[in-house]
């Protein structure tokens, strides 16, 4: 299956909420988020995620804190705020309607022998 080059800019506008979803689980630092997304072919570089985190913080959706431990090197950890949770909830609400709308258009003149869907 086509990898990174495969999905053009599908990602656009989705990354923000995805980062929020990752932070819902627990606090994370920048590179950790990059790796998490990259492992799912959803993002390519740090140049995307770090500015995004800054924007999310400016928007009040996340807050951050430098954490210096003795085991690891200093890292800036991001945590979801109440506003961030609300935004994530809104996205979870909108997402199904969006994919349904896309698929309603996508599966029209769809190839004849592509019917692999479940039928009772």
């Amino acid at each position: 299956m086509t990898k990174a080059a495969g999905a053009p800019q599908l990602r656009k506008g989705v990354l923000g909420p995805l980062v929020l979803a990752l932070l819902e689980e627990r606090e994370r630092y920048g590179l950790e988020i990059v790796r998490e997304l990259a492992s799912r072919d959803l993002v390519a570089s740090e140049g995307t995620v770090y500015p995004l985190l800054t924007r999310l913080q400016d928007a009040g959706a996340v807050e951050s804190e430098w954490i210096v431990s003795e085991r690891d090197r200093p890292r800036r950890f991001y945590r979801l705020t109440g506003a961030g949770r609300a935004e994530l909830a809104a996205f979870r609400t909108d997402w199904p309607a969006f994919t349904r709308a896309v698929e309603s258009i996508l599966t029209r003149g769809d190839s004849p022998d592509q019917r692999r869907e479940v039928h009772p």
Copy 2:
């Protein structure tokens, strides 16, 4: 927060393929495509679609032709090319993997207390 009503910028990067899918069915003209997308809350204005059609044509995914009939006023109709079909096929291939990846992240710490079943 700032992301107000409807689907924020989920649309980004998806509109191109959707237009191709609409043209797969039959030839269409600009405003017709705008209305088709708007009826599904997928786009707001002509300022999005007309430049997009121009880009698709420059990319060789569609071709266009002025059609002047006696019933209607002159319209520029767009038609899918071979390259456009290929691009659409690639999108149909990538789309499920994309939504799966998104949902794998979205449904993790998902609904923490979302009992659909009322218990006494």
